[in-house]
């Protein structure tokens, strides 16, 4: 038994080493298929069961969050959440964790603390049931009477600040000026649902008293700042939850509606996640990628099948011979199974290694930013399932020569005259080319989309321009008043003068928001009954020239704070159907006819200010004073030392605006490039998938053609004997390839068309990408691929020596 097994193993090793490249390719393909599927399935399964580490509360939790990207935290206030909780027929245990979590500089027991704390609503600990290291979580009584001064410590904070003292529970600590009581310490794995690591968890009302926002107590319940969690007790789909939410929002009293989102602006998602919108987007994209990996795996499986079946005719003679010397069919099946098992073991071993690497790599994909991943390890059931599928498929295909053998007599074993593509070859061609068309089209669509975005002329130049943004040293508290304009203008003058003295600085100006920053203020103007919605950018003199924006009419601002506006071509055309509108006004204060603030000083060409995928909209440049001017970023053209730039600006800020400091100095081009980072990541991943499937298809098609040529050598020899030259034979093989691939080519082209149209419709790919062009291009590419893959078999068939073959009687 063991001896026989060893013999079979030795034979399998010899067999695979006889064609080392093909064998290695089969192993790599099997491993790649397994790794792609299990790696992506790991990511997928986590995205569909997202629960933060350390939470034991089951899988029927839901998160409610804003549907739009630019709704800052905007969900519901605590009061509205409580109202919704009492009216909901679906959700129970509704609670919230606030994104308003930054601690002001404070101290606990005299030691300064700077970081994040989690204000939470009642029911948070009851719903999530996070694992505790010591003590308890917050209870209903901690929220009574405006909130008790109690806190639950995060594990890291407990270790760092309290030295891991196990007697900490029940201890009173001084936080700022008040006494707080520690009631528990969380287990190390739980850090809250939000992205930051929290120092401690506290009843929300107590927390707001601590950070002294100056917000009146009655307003705190109305601030829509919550990530909302609840239990889907009705076990319904998220659409039903969203419908219930919309009904609730419609019924809000008018006074509340000003603060609350509109119906349709909130979304629900299964699981506990930081950012439901990003998470749902990630789910959709990962689902698409999972489908793509499954399709790639299918092509890989077909290829492994081709690899194994290609050996079948050549092995008929060997198997027949073994039968003549007494091998039973069972014994031969055993031998073939051992051979297949060697392939499966090698492929699986490599597949597991690749899976671990890929599962981690997939989580880092840029377009999955914001999605919640609980674990960072491979999903073992997914790996096991894909390995099992690979094994079953390989073993089944490996046994096919035995079935074929049953149809032959011993005497004609190995004698094959001609080969025509059979059902397997036709199906393989259809599957491979069809799927290659689908995936390659998606990849081409994404890459074309990216290329178009990167080629678009934004109407301004960001190359060689640095931006130094500013931020508050400390978050402002209470009623914030910006400094007087004089301080801002003095600061700007000081910065401009000092920066221009730095080596490498060519020009300096100020503006905010920067190109590519999605924080533009929007204003509506009504001109002659026509409403124009425009984005407003606060700028200083020189901004237009520094960014290379074309000034079509009029002039730039001449001094900081100068009244008037500069508008874009689109604005002018929309309001007046012409561009030379200098001197007109975009708005006028009826009570003050001399007000110059709305007068148009100049008209610039259209610029794509926010995102390359969005058409340039009406734009208004203003040099207004106040908060907008105070917070503007500094723009520097040239290549100065960034540290020196930061130093110069910080020095000027300390002198004139000491509330602020430099946030970071970075190229404006990087900010713009950041906008297409997700598109680039998608382009790269799908491009890689496209490349893999195209290579696999090429290999599979080549192997099929090679098999048909090898199996049909005798027929080729006869054709040569009756006068077919090498050219005719090559043509015959190429035509055979075209006939074999034609159905797949048609299906692949159609699928390419459909998938690009769908991706365009779903907003993944810009409208500028034509599905017909991509579909046609992919079909042409696949045809070229087929011919290329058939070329070597065709050439080899043309070089056949018919004499030797026809003598083999």
């Amino acid at each position: 038994m063991i001896g026989g097994l060893l013999l079979d193993l030795r034979h399998a090793a010899r067999l695979y080493l006889k064609t080392p490249w093909q064998s290695a390719l089969a192993v790599v393909m099997m491993a790649a298929a397994m790794a792609l599927v299990s790696g992506m399935a790991s990511v997928w399964s986590e995205l569909y069961q997202p629960t933060p580490a350390g939470v034991d509360s089951g899988d029927d939790l839901v998160t409610i969050g804003p549907r739009a990207e630019d709704m800052f935290g905007g969900t519901l206030g605590a009061g509205a959440i409580k109202d919704f909780a009492s009216s909901s027929q679906i959700l129970t245990g509704l609670t919230g964790e606030s994104g308003f979590s930054r601690l002001p500089e404070t101290d606990i027991d005299g030691r300064p603390v700077d970081g994040q704390a989690a204000p939470v609503m009642p029911g948070y600990f009851e719903l999530l049931e996070p694992r505790m290291r010591l003590g308890r979580g917050l209870r209903a009584e901690d929220f009574a009477d405006g909130g008790a001064r109690v806190m639950v410590l995060g594990h890291g904070f407990w270790q760092d600040h309290f030295g891991g003292d196990t007697g900490v529970v029940g201890r009173e600590v001084t936080v700022g000026e008040d006494q707080w009581r520690i009631v528990g310490v969380l287990a190390p794995e739980f850090n809250g649902v939000g992205a930051p690591k929290f120092h401690f968890w506290a009843p929300y009302e107590s927390y707001f008293r601590l950070i002294q926002t100056g917000i009146p107590a009655e307003m705190i319940d109305r601030i829509p700042m919550w990530k909302i969690f609840g239990r889907n007790s009705g076990r319904v789909g998220t659409a039903a939850i969203e419908a219930e939410l919309d009904r609730f929002l419609e019924q809000q009293p008018p006074a509340e509606q000003a603060m609350a989102p509109e119906p349709g602006e909130l979304m629900a998602i299964s699981g506990l996640v930081e950012n439901p919108r990003a998470h749902r987007s990630a789910q959709r994209q990962v689902t698409m990628l999972l489908i793509a990996t499954v399709l790639i795996a299918l092509v890989a499986a077909v290829n492994v099948g081709i690899f194994l079946l290609a050996r079948a005719p050549a092995r008929q003679r060997e198997l027949a011979l073994r039968q003549t010397v007494g091998a039973t069919r069972r014994r031969l099946a055993g031998q073939l199974l051992v051979e297949a098992a060697v392939l499966v073991v090698l492929g699986s071993a490599l597949g597991i290694l690749l899976s671990i690497w890929l599962a981690a790599g997939f989580r880092e994909l840029r377009f999955l930013e914001g999605a919640a991943f609980a674990g960072d390890w491979l999903n073992l059931p997914a790996l096991g399932f894909s390995a099992m599928l690979a094994a079953v498929f390989t073993l089944l295909v490996a046994l096919l020569p035995i079935i074929t053998l049953a149809r032959r007599t011993l005497s004609d074993g190995g004698r094959q005259f001609s080969a025509r593509p059979g059902l397997f070859q036709h199906a393989a061609g259809l599957v491979q080319l069809g799927l290659a068309g689908l995936i390659a089209a998606a990849a081409t669509g994404f890459m074309a989309h990216l290329w178009i975005l990167e080629q678009r002329d934004p109407g301004l130049s960001t190359e060689g321009i640095l931006a130094a943004g500013v931020t508050f040293r400390e978050p402002p508290t209470g009623q914030f008043q910006p400094p007087a304009d004089a301080a801002t203008w003095a600061y700007r003058e000081a910065v401009r003068e000092r920066l221009l003295a730095l080596p490498g600085v060519e020009a300096v100006s100020f503006g905010s928001p920067l190109p590519g920053e999605r924080m533009t203020a929007i204003s509506r103007y009504t001109i002659d009954g026509e409403t124009v919605t425009a984005r407003i950018v606060n700028v200083a003199p020189g901004f237009i020239e520094l960014l290379g924006i074309d000034l079509l009419h009029g002039r730039d601002f001449e001094s900081a704070g100068e009244p008037g506006v500069i508008i874009s071509r689109r604005f002018a055309e929309k309001a007046w159907d012409e561009t030379d509108v200098v001197g007109r006004t975009v708005w006028q204060d009826q009570s003050n006819p001399d007000d110059e603030r709305g007068r148009i000083l100049g008209v610039i060409d259209d610029v794509n200010y926010e995102h390359p995928d969005e058409p340039p909209g009406p734009l208004v440049l203003s040099s207004r004073s106040g908060f907008g001017a105070f917070m503007t970023a500094t723009l520097i053209r040239g290549n100065p030392d960034r540290e020196r730039v930061e130093e110069v600006i910080n020095t000027a800020l300390q002198t004139h605006l000491d509330l602020l400091h430099v946030d970071k100095v970075r190229p404006v081009a990087d900010i713009v490039a950041e906008l297409t980072a997700k598109d680039r990541a998608r382009g790269r991943v799908t491009g890689l998938f496209g490349l893999v499937i195209v290579l696999m298809t090429a290999f599979g098609f080549f192997a099929m053609q090679r098999f048909l040529v090898d199996a049909g050598r005798r027929e080729t020899a006869v054709r040569m004997a009756v006068g077919a030259g090498p050219r005719s034979i090559r043509g015959h093989v190429l035509m055979q390839g075209i006939r074999l691939g034609a159905p797949g080519l048609v299906i692949g082209g159609l699928l390419a068309l459909i998938v690009v149209a769908w991706l365009t419709n779903e907003g993944f790919v810009t409208d500028s990408v034509s599905p017909a062009v991509i579909g046609g291009g992919v079909a042409a590419g696949l045809l070229a691929l087929m011919l290329l893959a058939s070329l070597q078999p065709a050439v080899s068939a043309g070089r056949l020596r018919p004499g030797d073959l026809l003598k083999e009687e």
């Binding site: 005259f417 001609s418 025509r420 005798r714 027929e715 020899a717 006869v718 054709r719 040569m720 004997a721 009756v722 006068g723 077919a724 030259g725 090498p726 050219r727 005719s728 043309g798 020596r801 018919p802 004499g803 030797d804 026809l806 003598k807 009687e809």
Partner: protein, 234 residues
């Protein structure tokens, strides 16, 4: 029987050597042979003596390793593969021991194959030539059958039709009766006799002395060389 008129085949010191890593086999070891137009030559000899290799080289299915081979005065050892294919198509007809009909094609399609590769013929012209060839071997009734539906003798007659459809100047037959019973074999031999009588040059490899005796000339090979070469006594 036609009188020989001019040399159709001229071989001088023809060699075919098969080389492997360990071994060099001289399948043809310096063959000198002239075959005139219209001759009927039987090539005999024990297994492995080089008969089939000689036929392959004569039919341009295999290349000589050395020496000279002229077919109708053309030095074929120097021409490229496409030109060799053209010569095979126009000047040579093959008859194999195992028939070598393409199983997926009908008899008509098999017989038509050389004319398709020749090119330049209309469908009607091809059809007419195929009909004539099939009639010549008495296979018209089986034109639409596939090889698997025919007996061995019928398959060989279809193969002969394919060999002569292009009206070649040389017919090469490698053990044409080797896979047939004696009655069928006799019928094939009669057909070959008739073809020769009609002017075809015929070179036939055979083990059977009776069939060899029907040829006008018997060439006996041994160890890759020509052992004896002479006319058949009446």
């Amino acid at each position: 029987m036609n009188e020989p008129t001019r040399p159709l085949i001229r071989l001088r010191d023809l060699k075919r050597i098969y080389t492997t890593e360990q071994l060099e086999t001289h399948a043809l070891d310096g063959i000198d042979l002239d075959i005139d137009d219209g001759e009927y030559v039987a090539v005999e000899g024990p297994s492995g003596c080089g008969k089939s290799t000689l036929l392959s080289v004569l039919g341009l299915l295999d290349e000589a390793s050395g020496g000279e081979y002229r077919l109708a005065g053309v030095p074929v050892t120097d021409i490229d593969a496409e030109e060799q294919a053209r010569l095979r198509n126009r000047e040579i007809g093959f008859i194999f021991q195992s028939f070598n009909l393409i199983p997926e094609m009908t008899v008509r399609e098999n017989v038509e194959l050389p004319l398709i590769y020749r090119g330049g013929l209309t469908t009607t012209a091809r059809r007419q030539a195929v009909d004539e060839a099939l009639a010549r071997v008495d296979m018209s009734a089986r034109a639409e059958h596939r090889p698997a539906q025919l007996s061995g003798g019928q398959q060989q007659r279809a193969a002969i039709a394919r060999a002569l459809v292009g009206k070649p100047s040389l017919l090469l037959a490698d053990e044409p009766t080797g896979n047939l019973d004696s009655a069928s074999g006799e019928r094939i031999m009669q057909l070959l006799d008739e073809l020769h009588a009609d002017g075809s040059t015929l070179v036939m490899v055979t083990h059977d002395p009776d069939y060899a005796a029907r040829a006008g000339r018997r060439v006996r090979m041994k160890d890759g060389r020509i052992d004896t070469d002479g006319s058949v006594a009446a």
